[in-house]
């Protein structure tokens, strides 16, 4: 079904298409530039120049590695929610809160009605796509996750917040589609945090994607999927990008009990370890996937964004994904 959709969109992808979840590590010069920019030592134009340089590096790297569906690597982003909140009227930057260990982020606060400010990601997508003939994914954060990862001082409740945000994100989706983007990933890592709210997440995704002409992927990770499966399959997307390796492929047991009816971007390498898996381990993971899922439903990628790894580690992990996928194609 979804492969037909890809073909209708003019996308000719091999079996086991390879892709990435979204973020790549920022090269040292960009890390320094971002710090300098925050200290007002360099102008925004210089920072953007270096962000484009880093984006071009990652596009070239993915092409060299032989990845099929590329991402821009999110070199211009910090946090996946704050990035949008900083650009959308209605949000105020909140103070720092902890994510884990010694990592903190500015959690946004919704203080007024949220509005779409015009295209937020489209220029970056156009730039990345201009560097390659391979399809580049449009990368957005879903309304439910933005709601869940923001404080809310304006809307009456969580559902009202999610649905209001869905209308805003939909406009960004429409702008990407209008620009020619055919594969759009709308990340919902908060999808499973409150199983009783799955209907809200589904309603919000439907409001975001219904009737729009693109192949939609959603990424979710580090959740208790056993509480939302198979209901989560009602999410209005074509492909679920799931963290599988970090949880020792436990989700496959769920797929045994109820067929997985969408395409899956199957995470075959753990992104939270410096250790590079050996090829056999990755091969076994794909074999296990194939024991339950039809081969034309499976995409191959890392568990999650690679931004917490070093550049070299990220490249090594991507290389492993590509090698494994190619081995199975043959």
């Amino acid at each position: 079904m979804s492969r037909q959709k890809l073909e209708q969109l003019g996308l000719d992808l091999p079996l086991f298409p390879t892709t990435s979840v979204g973020s790549f590590p920022k090269p040292d010069y960009l890390v320094k530039a971002r710090a300098d920019f925050n200290k007002q030592k360099i102008p925004q134009a210089r920072l953007e120049e270096l962000e484009r340089q880093a984006t071009a590096f990652w596009i070239e790297t993915q092409e060299k590695l032989g990845i099929d569906v590329l991402v821009d690597g999110e070199q211009y982003r910090g946090d996946m929610v704050a990035y949008f909140a900083e650009r959308m009227p209605g949000f105020t930057e909140g103070g720092l809160v902890r994510s884990y260990g010694n990592r903190y982020y500015h959690k946004p606060i919704i203080t007024e009605e949220v509005q779409w400010p015009g295209p937020v990601t489209v220029d970056w997508w156009k730039f990345a796509q201009s560097l390659t003939k391979k399809p580049v994914k449009g990368m957005l954060t879903g309304a439910y996750t933005i709601m869940d990862w923001s404080f809310n001082e304006h809307y009456s409740d969580r559902r009202a917040t999610a649905l209001a945000l869905a209308q805003v994100i939909r406009k960004e989706v429409e702008a990407l589609v209008a620009a020619g983007c055919k594969i759009i990933q709308i990340d919902e890592p908060a999808l499973s945090v409150r199983p009783e709210e799955l209907p809200i997440a589904i309603e919000a995704m439907d409001a975001t994607t219904a009737g729009l002409g693109a192949y939609f992927i959603t990424h979710a990770c580090y959740g208790a999927f056993e509480y939302i499966y198979p209901g989560m399959l009602d999410l209005a997307v074509d492909n679920f990008d799931l963290e599988m390796s970090n949880s020792d492929l436990h989700m496959l047991e769920l797929f045994r009990s109820h067929p997985f009816t969408k395409d899956i971007s199957f995470g075959v390498v753990d992104v939270h370890t410096h250790v590079l898996e050996d090829q056999d381990a990755v091969r076994r993971r794909i074999e296990q996937a194939l024991s339950i899922l039809p081969k034309d439903q499976i995409w191959v990628d890392p568990d999650c964004g690679l931004k917490t790894r070093t550049v070299d580690e990220a490249i090594d992990k991507l290389r492993l994904c590509v090698a494994a996928a190619k081995a199975f194609r043959n």
Binding site: G94, G95, L96, R98, Y222, N246, D270
Partner: protein, 361 residues
């Protein structure tokens, strides 16, 4: 001091933000980053933790709280902070902590869980000492108490894995219970040690017990070991109360069962179901309650008059007319300035109840 007398006490629910937005409030963050770069030592991190713990305690005193915690400044997370100090545990990858956007390191138990030293006793001793060195507001002299917090055995067990056979959702109830009882044995020893050090009220956090309701019997059996430890201490003539806190979910479906637990105080999160307060106002509580009426997960500041009305209607229905007003959970999910505002709100509620003019503004 004891908070066992009737009345409304203002209480912390545990954690407090480790960093703020100013340079001085980022001391711990900077020091840990410098440690990672090899530019500082673990002794430097300890100093930074000490300093930020003192500041967390000072904020609570300044806000007017009666029952104070150390803010859990030293905790990497509520799970690995305990598990990593026990024998035969290794720490695995990150997992989401309930419905928060905060991640904990998942423990893997690969042998007999053994407590070979204090878990939070030293932290509690430091915090008591730090509180003692703070200038105390005139009306609070001798009235402030330091409350140690531990993560309960069932929550620790549910957030852990066992090797070789346990694998989270797929493991047997017997394996989960064995792990919960093993954690409980370690925590029972910790409770005894905390009491020896002077703790008279210990908070036991069990958010998992209301999320995984089918495991209630396992939760109760694990809790029983902590209750037995308390009974032994009380039997020896010491004063000790156990408060079990439930949060991150609506506890209404289990309210009757919760009240039957053989503990002294029950802590409840009121933010997931507005009807919970109505129910308690109607049915009452045979135990003192910790009223988590202030939302620890959202920056929107509640109206102190509304909170005062809630407390005024609930307090007469609670046994001994003893209650602890506080945030619905630990405050580390909020930015530091908002966390302090939530604490300051607690005192405003009390002032509204006392009829202090302008308290609600």
């Amino acid at each position: 001091m004891s908070t066992a007398s009737p009345g409304l006490y203002l209480s912390s629910t545990g954690s407090y933000p480790r960093v703020g937005d100013t340079h001085e409030l980022q001391l711990l963050r900077r020091t840990m980053a410098a440690l990672d770069r090899g530019e500082r030592t673990t002794a430097d991190v300890l100093d930074a933790e000490n300093e930020m713990t003192r500041r967390a305690i000072a904020d609570q005193v300044k806000a007017g709280l009666d029952v104070i915690t150390d803010g859990q400044i030293r905790w990497y997370d509520p799970i690995s902070h305990f598990a990593s100090k026990l024998e035969n545990v290794r720490i695995k990858g990150l997992m989401r902590f309930f419905d928060t956007n905060f991640y904990f390191r998942q423990p893997v138990v690969h042998g007999a869980l053994l407590r070979c030293g204090p878990l939070v006793v030293n932290e509690y001793s430091f915090a008591r000492n730090a509180l003692g060195h703070l200038p105390t507001p005139q009306d609070k002299a001798g009235k402030l108490s330091m409350k140690p917090v531990i993560t309960g055995p069932y929550t620790l067990a549910k957030c852990s894995l066992s090797e070789p056979s346990g694998n989270g959702s797929g493991e047997s109830a017997a394996a989960l219970e064995a792990r919960a009882l093993a954690y409980s044995q370690a925590l029972a020893a910790e409770i005894s040690a905390l009491a020896q050090t002077g703790a008279e009220l210990i908070q036991v956090d069990e958010p998992a017990a209301i999320k995984y309701q089918g495991d209630w019997d396992i939760f109760e059996r694990a809790l029983a070991l902590l209750v037995a430890a308390r009974d032994k201490i009380v039997g020896a003539g010491r004063r000790l109360e156990l408060a079990v806190y439930f949060y991150f979910r609506d506890c209404s479906p289990l309210y009757e069962k919760i009240l039957e637990l053989p503990v002294d105080i029950i802590g409840l999160d009121f933010t997931y179901n507005p009807q919970l307060a109505d129910r308690i106002a109607a049915e009452g509580s045979p135990k003192p309650l910790a009223l988590g009426l202030v939302d620890a997960r959202n920056t929107r500041l509640e109206d102190p008059e509304v909170l005062a009305w809630q407390v005024e209607r609930l307090l007469p229905k609670i046994k001994g007319e003893r209650a602890y007003l506080g945030p619905s959970a630990g405050l580390e999910y909020l930015p530091r300035d908002r966390a302090f505002a939530k604490l300051a709100l607690l005192n405003k509620v009390r002032e509204v109840m006392k009829g202090v003019k302008g308290a609600a503004s």
